[in-house]
């Protein structure tokens, strides 16, 4: 009896598992980035000037580093990671 079909099936299973890990990895990048931003905002709330403004000008209210990190994570997830996972799942 040839062992070829068994090897092919094992290879398919390994490839499928590899794809699952890759999909999971890509899907986690955005949420983990956003989570890092949320954690940063909690640990250093003074970096979010909007929470306690003291008459700051435009730039101090517009550029909020933890919120920028959250925004980058969400934008990456919606615009890049989701289409990428769709492409991976087509395999």
């Amino acid at each position: 009896m040839s062992s070829q079909p068994i090897i092919e099936r094992l290879e398919e299973r390994v490839a499928a598992r590899d794809l699952t890990w890759r999909s999971l990895g890509v899907s986690l990048i955005g949420p983990l980035t956003a989570l890092a931003g949320v954690t940063w905002a909690i640990v250093q709330p003074y970096r979010v000037t909007l929470l306690h403004p003291r008459g700051e000008g435009f730039w101090w209210l517009f550029v909020e580093p933890p919120l920028l990190v959250i925004l980058a994570g969400v934008a990456f997830h919606l615009l890049v990671a989701r289409p990428l996972v769709e492409d991976l799942e087509k395999d």
Binding site: W59, V63, L68, A72, G73, F76, D91
Partner: protein, 195 residues
Amino acid sequence: MHQPPAEHVHWLFATGFLLLGLFLLAEAVVGPEVWRRRPWRPYLWPSFAFGLGVLMWPVMVFFTSSTVHMLAHGAWAQVMMLAGASELALARGRVTHWAWRLCTPFAFIVSGGAFLLHEQNQWFFQRSSFLHHFLGWLLLLGAVFPLARALRPRWVVANAGFALVFLVIAVALFSDRDLAPIFGHLSPLAGTPHR
């Protein structure tokens, strides 16, 4: 609207580098075949790098605290545009010779050198001094990743390392303040930190 403080400009650039690092990390995870499956994706990070280089010009023009700062910002603008443009041309197929990939490690070396040359204070003078030294050495040593990527474009370690360098740059730029202590050190010559 008045000019933004320097630290705000660093934070905005940090967001750009964060996105750049995330794009590269995703590409490293899925591999080049899947990444190229949508026609717009191969252009994503090179156009982002080129755009960051273009945005560096207004920084050079408006933040002229010293000649050496102006020259450093100008050098960053040029090499970021060079790296972005060469990678765009490679993605488009306009250039095919592998040596064009060396533009990115060259950009890293010039950027790292510019960081180290234009910082005139010691590591622990204040936070921005520390970050200039740190970013300079990070870019000089991190140039090994784009160099390895140029020689072996499909090597996962090189691609992941390349992405991680941008993520660390983003963290360093987000940590930047105009005047703040670093690990408890702040030279009395640096001034008084604001909020």
